[in-house]
Symmetry: C2
Subunit: 366 residues, 2 copies
């Protein structure tokens, strides 16, 4: 990668194979104080490893007027994977994101990412980030405010005021869950309050849980959890909006209690959630001891910045085909911001790879 | 998982929390000779861990007349991931495959599976398999010969003669690459002979390579490799079939030599490939020293068994939408057998997860 970087930026260099040259190997260890390759010397400076940031500072050609091959919005599982695939194809790549890891950071016990029997979201995202850091990718922590088309390129303006141009875009800015709007909500997230029954459901075997929501997702989760947990309280803010098929299934389950016209008014517990208070429309309150609450009150895709530029579905998700193409040539998307129904880390990663390889093909044809 | 298995099969049991009961913990260590949970005692037998195979033998209800919730054809990255997702949703799941790992086993240095900076295909597939083995999934090593629809279920007949029925199918039986048809081809695969430039391309920095094929894929690979390798020989059996855009791009590359009406007649080398002999239509032979050969002579999806049952594209790939649904309700597909253009482990895994979650939703609605 170091050689490829230098070649690409037209920097002449001498390459020494320390595997074959014992004397040079000795000298490298003395110079760098360690044994790993590559070691690059520039004038009096010794750079250990493929430090793409430092090499870019010294030799990079990324001025403000430059046009990147591809700009990736978001650095969750989809964006980071897309970045790795783009950089391996030697595309001049920039990622702009508010954080590194996205919503995956909120998962504290991932059992369904293939390759790891159990890993925290934070650890997994660190591994993703490390893979990105070994490649020549510019990663900017910034919030994208607007995306516009300018003839042959796309112009992305961030909160910091900078505008960056690229020949192709990969949109992976994810979604955010609707909030209950009660005190301590953030504190209990991942500590009894869950936003993903597919991820956390099996952890509640033999425990008491509540599910919040009145749509298909809430009913499905309640039915699913009724087979795992001892009891399920389904808390519906107003009236039931789920399909009749789910309502009938729910009625067959003996351990589900339905609370209509009811809201959670407070969350209880110390480190972990241990109970909730619910209040119905007539103001009557009830305290419930339980071990987990699953929120199924909806997700809001972070697609506002591209509304009007690419086609969105009725949920405001970006519509993609099975290869990650949007309706606009040059714009691709992956992960939770798209209309792909299941929102999972491995799905976002796979679709991020698809989008990157499609970008490569798109740019080759241009 | 053990408790869930026993519950599902109606087996009464007593659960002892050895975290809370010191005396019971001591007894468990004595009985099992180790400290891991769960430990299950059945009469005089002691089962360590969630040994789904033994538990199935003792308590399973999987007779020949049983109907599975879902049958997965294939156990590559897509099939194994689908299996994990199905089992976590408590679906009664069976996987039928000729091998475990699929084509991923042929990759000897994977650098683009997120979560691992570098891993062999064999090691990665072992990790996938381990995740499957911790869950309640039946895994049969057998070759699927035919798939038929029988009113409400699908009947899958294997080479061994057994027919297995399931309410839903996930097709992940992959594809196989067309062969050159020369001696030692199998021996050099992964040792200089590559079937994936996206995977192996970066390993040939500064080396001499050949690309075999006359279509878009071959031309793309030659152009890509010309930026990485010092020289590229593009070997086209008959005439060029690639789009003009690629032909023009190729002509711009100074380090690509085009050999039309030419075939590889032999491969040379000891452990690793070190050269080839090519022969043109007039019988003239030429020996070339080189480090790598990329085959881009096409892929053949393993879809014969479902031809006529589900819609295939012109390449005989199974057509899926962005959620892994085929045109037949109850049949889903993922991985290299589908029309998804990029064939990668992380993509197959992600799409396997999609298919599994769609099966779950489909069965819930039934």
């Amino acid at each position: 990668m170091a050689k490829a970087f230098l070649d690409k930026n037209g920097v002449p260099y001498e390459s020494i194979d320390v595997g074959a040259d014992q004397e040079a190997a000795q000298k490298m260890v003395e110079l760098s104080g360690q044994r790993g390759v590559p070691v690059i010397t520039v004038d009096d400076e010794v750079i250990v490893g493929f430090d793409s940031q430092r090499l870019n500072e010294l030799f990079g050609k990324t001025g403000a007027t430059d046009i990147f091959d591809v700009l990736i919005v978001g650095a969750g599982p989809a964006g980071l994977t897309a970045g790795v695939y783009c950089a391996r194809k030697m595309l001049n790549t920039i990622i702009i994101s508010e954080n590194i890891g996205g919503l995956a950071l909120e998962s504290w016990a991932i059992e369904n990412y293939m390759g790891y029997r159990m890993i925290t979201g934070e650890d997994l995202m660190k591994k993703f980030e490390e893979q990105v850091r070994t490649l020549n990718i510019r990663l900017e922590l910034d919030r994208v405010e607007s995306v516009a088309r300018e003839e042959e390129v796309f112009a992305v303006t961030a909160a910091s005021g900078t505008t960056i141009r690229a020949r192709a875009l990969i949109l992976t800015q994810g979604n955010h869950h609707r909030k209950l709007g009660v005190a301590n909500e953030e504190q209990f997230l991942g500590r009894g309050l869950s936003i993903c029954s597919t991820c956390d459901g099996p952890l509640y075997k033999g425990k008491r849980v509540a599910v919040v929501g009145g749509g298909n997702a809430a009913f499905q989760t309640a039915i699913e959890m009724s087979k795992i947990a001892t009891s399920v309280s389904l808390i519906v803010r107003s009236t039931v909006k789920a399909d009749p098929v789910y309502v009938r299934k729910l009625e067959e389950m003996k351990n589900i209690t339905l609370h209509k016209n009811t809201q959670i008014s407070s969350l209880h517990g110390n480190k972990f959630l241990s109970g909730i208070t619910i209040r119905n429309d007539s103001g009557k309150e009830q305290v419930m001891d339980l071990d987990g609450v699953f929120l199924e009150i909806g997700w809001l895709p972070n697609s506002g910045m591209v509304d009007g530029l690419v086609a969105l579905n009725e949920k405001k998700e970006i519509i993609v085909d099975c290869d990650g193409r949007t309706n606009v040539p040059g714009i691709f998307a992956a992960g939770d911001v798209t209309n792909v129904r299941s929102k999972q880390i491995i799905i976002a990663a796979g679709d991020g790879a698809k989008a990157a390889l499609e970008v490569y093909e798109y740019l080759m044809k241009e």
